[in-house]
């Protein structure tokens, strides 16, 4: 997440007014990838430097704020210990299982209900009510129902992912161009043809947004579930470190959490770009009409 801070030229110049002349003369900074990377490095360096300096000089209370070098130490310790092999694995398995099941179900139920307008209208208010429920409130209930093991945390992820994916898929289906549907009718397309050639491709970008959000929400569900009670996982770790005022350890876990989320977001972006290439194209020729 910190990587995004330096993304605009405004941020960059605020941090470093002395941009080299040679850089300024050509394209605007926002269009120069290497300049953006330089910006990221500067933001990171300034942030970490100030934090470390605050810690070393005692301006920041170490009990609450720790400092980068101490976090790094805890990180190394964690990596050598159970942070990756046990906790990260535990959380990711729970999120992955919950997310996959709920995402498939969300897409399937949305497509199914879009074909059954009556049932949809009946179900709609109940879905809205369930979705507006703060899901963390379900965590203790899930513990009662499913125990403190993995399954309880899988269900936490699923309960959040399902509705996000469902709602976005539904929105995608509803945003289908009426002219396209008219065209399908005029061309004599069957219901199945209309579905696979007109409706699904049109809903795809929206489904992807749903999946991306669904993953983030799934992570949220699992980690917050683990924080209430669990055998292992990021949430358990965070709760334990906070309890013993191990702020450095806490930040080390957060760091890994951010890293994994960012990595997976990148994977989503790549998959999206491949699957819906037509969305990112621009006019190549205005002439010759």
């Amino acid at each position: 997440m910190t990587a995004k801070v330096g993304n605009t030229p405004g941020d960059l110049s605020a941090v470093s007014p002395a941009v080299p002349e040679a850089v300024r003369r050509r394209k605007p900074l926002s269009e120069r990838p290497e300049a953006v990377i330089v910006g990221w490095i500067i933001v990171t360096a300034v942030f970490l430097g100030a934090w470390e300096w605050g810690g070393v000089t005692g301006r920041l209370n170490q009990l609450f704020f720790s400092r980068p070098s101490a976090v790094w130490g805890e990180l190394v310790l964690g990596v050598r210990g159970t942070l990756i092999t046990t906790d990260a694995r535990y959380t990711l398995v729970a999120v992955f299982l919950g997310f996959t099941g709920a995402a498939l179900a969300g897409v399937a139920v949305a497509f199914m209900l879009s074909q059954m307008p009556y049932l949809r209208k009946v179900v709609n208010p109940f879905f809205t009510a369930l979705n507006s429920l703060p899901r963390v409130a379900l965590a203790p209930l899930f513990v009662m129902w499913f125990g403190i093991g993995l399954f309880s945390h899988v269900m936490m992820a699923a309960s959040l992912t399902f509705f996000v994916v469902f709602a976005n898929t539904m929105a995608g289906i509803e945003s289908v161009d009426q002219d396209h549907l008219l065209l399908a009718r005029l061309q004599g397309a069957t219901r199945w043809q209309t579905f696979k050639w007109f409706i699904v491709p049109s809903a795809l970008p929206s489904i992807f947004i749903g999946l991306e959000l669904g993953f983030i929400f799934g992570m949220l569900g699992t980690v917050s579930g683990e924080m209430i009670v669990g055998e292992a996982g990021f949430g358990v770790r965070l709760q334990r470190d906070a309890g013993i005022f191990n702020t450095s350890g806490y930040f080390a876990t957060l760091f890994v959490l951010v890293l994994i989320s960012a990595l997976l977001a990148g994977v989503f972006q790549m998959a999206k770009r491949r699957l819906i290439r037509w969305q990112s194209l621009h006019l190549v020729s205005r002439g010759g009409a």
Binding site: L186, Q187, G188, W197, F198, A289
Partner: protein, 260 residues
């Protein structure tokens, strides 16, 4: 394959009023029309006069309140593979290339992929888009997109062609070149055409017959045969005396209806 004979027998259309409680509104007064096989008929008239209603009846999209419509003696059916409908909006699928937009109606009809692709490629080349087969709609200009839409409509070689102001959204030059290209293609595919337009020049240049509709509720208030020779060179035709005579005659009728 020849164009279909289209017969409208005393068709009349009422639509529900937008304001609840009000009585239904008459859009089209009882109207009888007959279009010969391979005839090119243009419908002109003020907005809301029922021109598009006639088109939608022939397409089978709406049923007349009373009276009957027949294509070669049969009641029209939506999705009839023998009917092509071209809208003012191109309605291209943004996720399909030009080629795959044009081959779509063939896929729907179950034409083998290879054959469909070949036919789509051929007609796109004919409308001058041979170099843009793999371009997505977002990469094409307005005029090019409408050309793809024309190709998509003609690729199935429909025996009836319904066109609802297909060139109205284009600039003057693009419009003229598309009109010319369309007329050339049509002179070859031989289908019956009903062409709805606001543009009298376009109607005269392209059609065999121009029907002038009255203001709402619509009826045909005048009919003109356009005895210009085919094949037509549209750009040159616009300068001829014959064109100007026809334009003046029809405009004299149309003017009273559109209240200029």
């Amino acid at each position: 394959m020849s164009g279909k004979t289209i017969v409208l027998d005393r068709v009349e259309q009422y639509f529900d009023s937008h304001n609840p409680g009000e009585p239904q509104k008459q859009v089209l007064q009882p109207t009888s029309l007959k279009m010969k096989s391979e005839e090119f008929v243009a419908l002109v008239g003020p907005s809301g006069c029922g021109k598009t209603t006639v088109l939608n009846m022939v397409a089978g999209l709406i049923r007349p309140t009373s009276g009957t419509v027949t294509l070669d003696g049969q009641t029209p059916r939506v999705g009839d593979s023998d009917v092509g409908y071209l809208l003012a909006r191109d309605a291209l699928l943004p996720w399909r290339t030009a080629l795959h937009n044009v081959s779509l109606p063939l896929e729907v009809r179950g034409v083998p992929k290879k054959e469909g692709g070949a036919r789509a490629r051929k007609i796109l080349t004919e409308v001058g888009l041979g170099d843009f087969l793999d371009a997505y709609p977002s990469q094409l200009s307005h005029g090019m997109r409408q050309r793809v839409a024309v190709a998509r409509t003609l690729v199935v070689e429909p025996r009836t062609l319904l066109m609802d102001e297909p060139f109205s959204a284009l600039d003057a030059q693009t419009r003229l070149s598309l009109q010319q290209q369309f007329v050339q293609l049509w002179e070859r595919v031989s289908s019956t055409v009903i062409f709805v337009t606001h543009d009298l020049t376009e109607a005269i240049l392209m059609a065999d017959r121009v029907l002038v509709f009255s203001a709402r509720p619509g009826r045909v208030c005048a009919e003109f045969n356009i005895d210009l020779e085919r094949p037509r060179a549209l750009a040159e035709l616009q300068g001829t005396d014959k064109f100007h005579d026809l334009f003046r005659q029809i405009w004299n009728v149309l003017r009273d209806e559109v209240h200029v």
